[in-house]
C-alpha cells in the first residue's frame, strides 16, 4: 500500500467528489449566514439529517433575486467540491431560489407580466379615492386583528358606516370568496337596502407567500381591477407585495394604513370648517366695513346736498342783489347824466349868445354906418364933382351961351321944325328959366344963327311920330 501525503489524499478526494457530483441542486435551510467584507457569503445548508458548508462568491451573490437569510428554505444550485485545508466538503453556490416558493414566485411573476400586458394595471385605470366616504366596504376575515385595526383607526379619525364582507383570506376557496365580495359590493344599487359603499378595503394580515397566495389569484386581481368602487389593497406586511396591489387603486402597507387613507381626521376637518367659518365672517365684515368706509369717505367728499343747495341759494341771492344794485346804479348814472345834460341846457347861454351876436351885429352896423357914411360923403363929393363936370358938359352951359330948348307940350324936345306945328304950345327953356310960347306957323327964312337955338339933343328921346299922335288920340 503506497503512502500518500495528506495533500495527495485531499486532492484525490476533491477530484473524486467533483467528478462524481459535478453540479447539483440542493434543497435546505440557510443557517449561519455571513457576508464577509470581501463580499463573499458563507453559510450552511442544512436539513434534518445533515449539513453542508456553502460558499456564495461575490459575483454570484450580486445576481441573486432574493436576499438569503437564516431560516430561509432555499434551493441552491452549484458544484460540490472539497476544501482540503479543513477537510470538509462544500458547495460553491451560484444561484439561490426560495425552496417551494421558487416555482410559485415564477408563476406569480409570469402572471403579473401577462396581466400587466393586458392593461389591468394601467395607471389610467386608477381612481381617486373619495375625500370623505360615507360607507366603506371591507373585504376581510371577520375575526382577527385586521378588521379590529381598521375599525379602531376609522373610529379614531372619523367614524364611518362600515360594511364588512366576511371572507376566508387563505386556503381553499379564499380567492373566490374575496373576488365574489368585491363584485358583490359593486353589485349593490345606490339607495338600496344595503348601502353601496363608496370605498372598498381588501385586507389581510401578514403571512407566508403561500398564506397570501389568494391575493395573487387571477380571479381576485380581475375583480379588483374591474371594481367601479375605488379600492385600497392592504395585504400582508409592508414588505409583502401581492398582485392585487397592482390592480388596486391604492396600496396600503398595512390594514391600519388603509384606514388612514380611507378617511381624513374629523378634528382637523372640523377645525378647517370652523376656521373657514371664522374667515367667512371676518372677510365679509371687513368687506362691508371697507365699503361703508369708502362710502363715508365719498359722501364726505361729495358734501351735504342740503348745504350745497343753500350754497347755491346764497349765491343766487348774492347775484340777484348785485344785479339789482347794478341796475339801480345804471339808472342813477343815466339820470345824473340827463340831469347834467339838462343843467347844461340853460337859456341864458342862448341869450348870452344872442347878446354876443347883437353886440357883434351892432359893432358891424356901426362899422358899416361909419364906413357907409364915409363912403357916402366920398360919393357925394364925387357926385358933386361929377355933377360939376357934367354941368360943364350939359346943354345948360350951352344955354348960357344963348341957346334955348323948345319943349313940346308933351315934355319932349321939339327938335325939328316939322314937328312944330302952327298953334302948338311950347316951352322955351333958357339957361335961367322957361317961357311959354306958341308957334305961329309960318316958316322963316333960314338963318343959321337963329336956328341954332333949337337943341339938337332932346332931353328925352322923342317917341315915334305915330305914337305921339296915337298918344294924343288916347
Amino acid at each position: 500500500m503506497p503512502i500518500l501525503t495528506v495533500g495527495e489524499l485531499a486532492f484525490a478526494l476533491k477530484r473524486t467528489v467533483e467528478d462524481a457530483f459535478g453540479r447539483v441542486r440542493l434543497r435546505g435551510e440557510i443557517s449561519g449566514f455571513k457576508r464577509h467584507t470581501s463580499g463573499h457569503c458563507y453559510f450552511r445548508l442544512k436539513d434534518m439529517d445533515a449539513a453542508i458548508e456553502a460558499v456564495l462568491f461575490r459575483g454570484s451573490a450580486g445576481k441573486l433575486t432574493i436576499k438569503p437569510e437564516d431560516g430561509m428554505e432555499v434551493i441552491a444550485t452549484g458544484r460540490v467540491t472539497t476544501y482540503p485545508g479543513r477537510s470538509q466538503y462544500q458547495i460553491i453556490v451560484d444561484t439561490v431560489e426560495l425552496a417551494g416558493q421558487g416555482a410559485l414566485l415564477k408563476l406569480i411573476e409570469d402572471r403579473r407580466k401577462r396581466l400587466e400586458a393586458e392593461g389591468l394595471f394601467d395607471a389610467d385605470r386608477k381612481r381617486d379615492l373619495p375625500f370623505l366616504p360615507e360607507v366603506i366596504g371591507v373585504v376581510t376575515s371577520p375575526t382577527g386583528a385586521v378588521i379590529r385595526d381598521i375599525l379602531h383607526r376609522l373610529a379614531d379619525r372619523l367614524p364611518r358606516h362600515v360594511l364588512v364582507w366576511p371572507v376566508l383570506v387563505q386556503g381553499d376557496g379564499a380567492a373566490e370568496q374575496v373576488a365574489r365580495a368585491i363584485k358583490g359590493f359593486n353589485a349593490l344599487e345606490p339607495g338600496g337596502a344595503v348601502p353601496r359603499p363608496d370605498l372598498l378595503i381588501v385586507a389581510r394580515g401578514g403571512g407566508s407567500l403561500e398564506d397570501l397566495m389568494a391575493f395573487n389569484e387571477e380571479v381576485v386581481i380581475r375583480a379588483a381591477a374591474e371594481s367601479q368602487i375605488p379600492l385600497i389593497s392592504a395585504v400582508g406586511h409592508e414588505t409583502d407585495t401581492t398582485l392585487i396591489d397592482f390592480a388596486s387603486d391604492r396600496r396600503a402597507p398595512t390594514p391600519t394604513a388603509a384606514a388612514e387613507m380611507a378617511v381624513p381626521v374629523r378634528a382637523e376637518l372640523l377645525g378647517q370648517v370652523m376656521d373657514d367659518g371664522a374667515r367667512l365672517v371676518r372677510s365679509y365684515s371687513r368687506m362691508i366695513g371697507d365699503r361703508a368706509e369708502r362710502l363715508t369717505a365719498l359722501a364726505r367728499v361729495m358734501g351735504d346736498p342740503q348745504r350745497m343747495l343753500e350754497d347755491f341759494a346764497q349765491r343766487l341771492d348774492d347775484r340777484w342783489e348785485r344785479l339789482r344794485l347794478a341796475g339801480d346804479g345804471m339808472f342813477a348814472r343815466i339820470g345824473s347824466k340827463i340831469a347834467e345834460a339838462a343843467a347844461a341846457l340853460r337859456p341864458q347861454r342862448l341869450f348870452v349868445l344872442l347878446e354876443q351876436r347883437d353886440e357883434r351885429l351892432e359893432g358891424v352896423g356901426q362899422r358899416l354906418a361909419t364906413a357907409g357914411g364915409r363912403a357916402l360923403s366920398d360919393a357925394e363929393r364925387h357926385v358933386a364933382q361929377l355933377g360939376k363936370l357934367l354941368d360943364s358938359y350939359s346943354h345948360k352951359s350951352i344955354l348960357e351961351r344963348g341957346f334955348a330948348l323948345v319943349v313940346g307940350a308933351d315934355g319932349y324936345l321939339v327938335a325939328s321944325a316939322a314937328d312944330a306945328k302952327a298953334g302948338d304950345g311950347v316951352t322955351l327953356r333958357f339957361h335961367d328959366g322957361e317961357r311959354a310960347a306958341v308957334i305961329d306957323g309960318a316958316p322963316v327964312a333960314s338963318s343959321g344963327a337963329e336956328k341954332k337955338a333949337v337943341a339938337p339933343k332932346p332931353i328925352k328921346p322923342k317917341p315915334p311920330a305915330g305914337s305921339g299922335n296915337q298918344g294924343s288920340l288916347l
Partner: protein, 88 residues
C-alpha cells in the same frame, strides 16, 4: 318672487346634496373671494349666506359621523343583507 329669504339655518337643497368635499371646497372658494375683496357687494351678501350654509352643512356632515358596523350576510339565493355586528 315669492321665494322666502333663506337664512343661515335653512340649508338649500342644492347644498344639502353636496358632498362634504365639494361643500368645503366651495366654502373655501367663497372665503378666498371675499378675502380678496373681488366680490360685488350684492354678490357678497349672497356669497356670505351661501358660505354660512356650506359651513353648517359641513359641520352637520362631520357631526353626523357615527361609527356603524354591519356584516354582510349572503343568503342561499345570493341576495345580500347587512346586519349589526359587534366586530369592534
Amino acid at each position: 318672487m315669492a321665494k322666502p329669504a333663506s337664512t343661515d339655518t335653512d340649508i338649500s337643497p342644492d347644498i344639502a346634496a353636496l358632498s362634504f368635499e365639494d361643500a368645503l371646497g366651495e366654502l373655501e372658494k367663497i372665503v378666498g373671494d371675499l378675502e380678496r375683496g373681488k366680490v360685488k357687494l350684492d354678490d357678497a351678501i349672497a356669497a356670505y349666506t351661501r358660505g354660512a350654509q356650506l359651513k353648517r352643512h359641513c359641520e352637520m356632515k362631520l357631526a353626523a359621523a357615527k361609527a356603524k358596523v354591519e356584516k354582510i350576510v349572503v343568503r342561499p339565493d345570493g341576495s345580500v343583507s347587512a346586519e349589526e355586528s359587534e366586530l369592534n
